[in-house]
Amino acid sequence: MMQLFRINGQEISLACEPQTYLVDLLRQNGFKSVKRACETSSCGICTVLLDGRPILSCTLLATMAVGHDITTVEGMRSEIEDLTQFLSAEGAEQCGFCSPGLALTVLAMKKELQTPTTHNVKHYLSGNLCRCSGYVGQLRAIYRYMGVEA
């Protein structure tokens, strides 16, 4: 069944079965920045933005996203490049598999939290797991990016 989705600002008509999850719809249609990992709604790696809010694309049925703005890393290149400068400067990245989900969550956090503390930042990011970095470098970079005094 064809349905009209709004992905990265563009209206796109895509074939979508009722039980298709958003992560599969996006990957099948070329949005390969969206990664599938834990399959238990726990790791945050499949994060995309729905109307600017981070959600787990492995948990949301794609049909439920019809009528909303879906944003992936492909749609936020310049903002992501800006954040990447901070992450690179701290040597924070290793394998990079969790980076798209983390980056989108950080961008949403920057819009949502006005004057965050380190506690607010950690709390907002607690749903993004990384299995190789140990978080310290990432957090150092994100505090700088957010203008939070660590």
Partner: protein, 278 residues
């Protein structure tokens, strides 16, 4: 899970008609927990266009109303809820997995799902909270949880009566964001104490016998008893609640462990409520 079709009714009345007339239909809620099952649904009802996502102050009835499609993140960040009941509701949902999942989970999903691990239910149980099914009279949450879920009615909203309360919330989990091994909510009205314990691992329950034993005790006296190093077993509210409630084993921890931490978490929640009062 397999689904034949997803429909998006634009009113709760229309949604309820679909639920009652379409064979093998089910409400999606946020759809988060459903995905873990292997159920087949002919007609899945997505309520996002039915106007059920709200948290409103109702001064005429002196209550707060929360719609079925309100997300956990809405509860966590809502100013009205932060400023009522000692912020108990935002606190109870704030540590559930991550912000991404809390943007999906709905109040309706947890109330109808009646999950044992539901921290929201633990928190709501110590408040004067009512469940409203569409076209039906409100029923107290505590009674709703004991009765069978009405399959032909659709959950519309929660009504929480405003009252001056000091509250405390405590839980134990393996790691930040993991499901809780135990969750505890406490409310101190003018006299007495209300205690709810969830993730036992069964559905949250009030410690009714313990509450009755402390009915007339004022908050100050309750705290004084707990802060006394030589607090007797009878005066130890947490110990009494742990003795009264039943606990079970699961992959997270044993019944014995839950019983042990229950006493401590109840007492800590009472102390937390008391600190806020001062």
């Amino acid at each position: 899970m397999t689904i034949n079709e997803i429909v998006r009714p634009t009113s709760i009345g229309e949604a309820q008609r679909i639920l009652q007339t379409k064979h093998n239909s089910a409400v999606l809620g946020g759809g988060a927990f459903m995905r873990l099952g292997s159920k087949h649904i002919d007609t899945a009802i997505d309520l996002q266009d039915a106007g059920l996502r709200y948290i409103i102050d109702n001064p005429a009835e002196d209550c707060i109303e929360i719609g079925a499609m309100t997300t956990f993140r809405d509860l966590e960040t809502n100013e009205l809820l932060m400023n009522h009941f000692g912020g108990l509701i935002p606190q109870s949902v704030a540590n559930i997995v991550g912000v991404q999942l809390r943007n999906i989970l709905t109040v309706g999903g947890t109330i109808i799902g009646r999950y044992g691990f539901s921290e929201l239910i633990t928190g709501l149980l110590v408040l004067d909270c009512f469940v409203v099914m569409h076209d039906a009279a409100p029923i107290a949450l505590v009674d709703f949880l004991k009765a069978k879920v009405p399959q032909h009615l659709l959950f519309e909203k929660l009504i929480i009566k405003k009252e001056p309360l000091q509250t405390g919330y405590q839980m134990m989990r393996m790691t930040s964001g993991a499901l809780p091994m135990l969750s505890v909510a406490v409310a101190l009205p003018e006299a007495g104490v209300r205690i709810a314990v969830g993730a036992r691992p069964g559905l949250a329950q009030r410690a009714e016998l313990t509450e009755r034993a402390f009915t007339d005790v004022l908050p100050d006296a309750l705290l004084h008893k707990l802060n006394n190093l030589h607090c007797s077993e009878q005066d130890n509210v947490g110990l009494q609640a742990a003795k009264e409630l039943t606990f079970g084993d699961d992959t997270k921890c044993s019944a014995a462990y839950r019983k042990e931490i229950c006493a401590t978490l109840v007492n800590r929640a009472i102390q937390m409520a008391g600190e806020v009062q001062e």
